[in-house]
């Protein structure tokens, strides 16, 4: 019944609709292309700024800037995380009892016994 009610009206797609479609799609592209251009050139601009700074500093270290990928960073972060948080998991699972041989301890002292008062009587 619904299918019978569907009427395709090609006249509805007039020049105005076509303009909205074409211009709209073009503007979406334009906006994102502008962002692309801005961020494509961003590292170069930032590097340029840092290079100028570097030139002014006489004693600059000669070590090359190593660009690390996100995966390498993730692996290093994971290793650090494990080291700082989970290293205790690698403890030995063997349980031992450490013998304590003391001549005196309040735990074994007769003067701290609960029933001491009765003994006094």
């Amino acid at each position: 019944m619904i299918i019978n009610n569907i009427h395709i009206d090609s006249a509805a797609v007039d020049s105005e609709a076509l303009i909205v479609t074409v211009v709209g799609y073009a503007v979406v592209f334009a906006a994102l292309i502008l962002l692309f251009v801005a961020f494509f050139s961003m590292p170069k601009i930032l590097n340029l700024k840092f290079k100028r700074k570097g030139k002014s500093q006489i004693a600059m270290e000669a070590s090359p800037v190593v660009e690390m990928s996100g995966e390498v960073n993730a692996a290093i972060s994971m290793a650090l995380h494990l080291y700082f948080n989970q290293y205790h998991d690698e403890e030995s699972s063997a349980m031992t009892i450490k013998r304590e041989s003391r001549l005196y301890s309040p735990w074994s002292s007769k003067i701290y016994q609960v029933r001491n008062q009765f003994n006094r009587i």
Partner: protein, 447 residues
């Protein structure tokens, strides 16, 4: 609860028995009543009759107000739809944070009750009454109506965008900005659906609101339909959110159809590390560039980039934390339940809604295809080591992060060591920006 039910049942039985006894008493007066004077007996009988009549009237009135009396087939259908939403969310984990509130909202919105018009015809309300029980979402003064104000006036979507901005990491996009173009290409779905809706006889403003479903962005769809076609908010929002939840079902066949195995195996270069300065500059430059081009998208893009500035500046952690947790959760609850409740059967179950659902499905498919084909097109100009895996083109539809997850899943199926998720996140978040820009353009043309 058991006790409450028992007590309620006992009271009901007692009331029924009382009325039955009264009726029996009226028909067969016993020996005691014979001794009473005839005049007083008549008075007692007529009093009992009045009581039983009033009890009957009360029960009848209660029945008239009950959902059972006012239920229509449309209500039952919509309640089943709501239950399906809840089932899909719980059983298959399809966007549960959206489908559970929306599904429950559908149940709430489709509980039958006496509306003002029905009440007048049934004699429950005075003929000159101007307000009914103030229960329904579309009834002025009801609680649901107040909550729905945030949807109808487009208040919730920018708040959602604020939260999205505060939780989105644009690093993948900044490190490989050419993937922004995939987010633009996938907006083909919006404009193709706009044309399709026009062909099917929708008004230009309605067609624009329907077209935005192809942006695969629920808040944007709600925002635009609240401005261009407020009467279609329910079907458009439900279609947008349903298809967003069904991205793992809709996209893979199209992805397989438009790519070869060799293309799906393409390994992309790992992204470079992004500096903090770049991360802070992105929302600022993005905000200025995009809103200067499409100022109509200011509420959405402004809040999106504002949220991201809160996050990336690292000096407003408390605000960013609130925006990406408590605030977005509260708004999602209100948005979900009111959008669901807006699908009252009498408003929602129309042939227009069915057409919107069909157009929505087509728009998702076209958007996916647009992203995939543009990735192929870009690969024509890229060197071998910089080639893009076309699967990530499908993530250009802005169903964050589901479409990126689908690209990852499809990539892993072909090569279990080829992780595409981070690459796919770039066109995915670009799609959010692209759909908001497209929405702004449609607003400025059609409002």
């Amino acid at each position: 609860m058991k006790r409450f039910a028992t007590i309620f049942a006992i009271i009901a039985i007692l009331a029924t028995l009382h009325s039955l006894v009264n009726q029996a008493g009226a028909n067969n007066p016993n020996a005691d009543t014979v001794t009473v004077a005839q005049n007083s007996q008549q008075n007692t009988d007529s009093g009992d009759e009045e009581v039983s009549a009033s009890v009957f009237q009360g029960l009848k009135k209660f029945w008239m107000y009950s959902g059972f009396k006012n239920a229509k087939i449309g209500h039952i259908i919509m309640i089943i739809v709501g239950l399906i939403f809840i089932f899909l969310a719980i059983k298959y984990d399809y966007e549960p944070l959206l489908l559970v509130p929306i599904g429950t909202g559908i149940l709430i919105g489709n509980i039958p009750f006496v509306t003002l018009e029905i009440g007048k015809t049934m004699g429950l309300f005075a003929p000159d009454a101007t307000s009914g029980l103030k229960l329904g979402l579309y009834e002025q003064g009801s609680v649901l109506n107040y909550l729905y104000y945030g949807v109808s006036q487009g208040i919730y979507p920018p708040l959602i965008f604020l939260g999205i901005g505060a939780m989105t990491d644009f690093s993948a996009l900044i490190s490989n900005p050419k993937l922004l173009l995939l987010g633009a290409a996938a907006q083909l779905g919006i404009f193709a659906t706009f044309m399709g809706a026009l062909l099917l006889g929708f008004l230009p403003s309605e067609a624009g609101a329907i077209g935005i479903i192809g942006g695969a962005d629920g808040p944007t769809a709600i925002f635009i339909s609240s401005k261009l076609a407020p009467h279609l908010i329910g079907p458009i929002a439900i279609a947008a959110y349903s298809y967003m939840a069904l991205v793992p079902v809709i996209q893979p066949p199209i992805m397989r159809l438009l790519t070869t195995r060799k293309q799906r195996l393409i390994r992309m270069r790992p992204s470079r590390a992004v500096s903090k300065t770049e991360k802070i500059l992105f929302p600022i430059i993005g905000l200025l560039l995009t809103t200067f081009i499409a100022p109509s998208a200011l509420p959405l893009l402004g809040m999106l980039f504002f949220g991201n500035i809160l996050k990336e500046s690292t000096v407003t952690n408390r605000l960013a934390e609130t925006a990406r947790t408590s605030l977005i959760d509260i708004v999602t609850i209100l948005l979900g339940v009111t959008v669901g409740a807006s699908t009252q059967a009498d408003v929602f179950l129309t042939s227009q809604s069915i057409l919107i659902f069909v157009l929505g499905a087509i728009s998702f498919m076209v958007a996916t295809a647009g992203g995939l084909l543009f990735a192929h097109f870009m690969n024509l100009f890229l060197r071998k080591e910089n080639k893009i895996n076309p699967l990530i083109g499908a993530a250009g539809v802005s169903a964050v992060p589901d479409s990126a997850r689908v690209a990852q899943m499809m990539g892993l199926k072909e090569d279990p060591s080829n992780h595409l998720l981070m690459h796919a996140m770039a066109p995915n978040v670009a799609g959010v920006i692209g759909s908001a820009v497209a929405a702004g353009i449609l607003l400025s043309f059609l409002l």
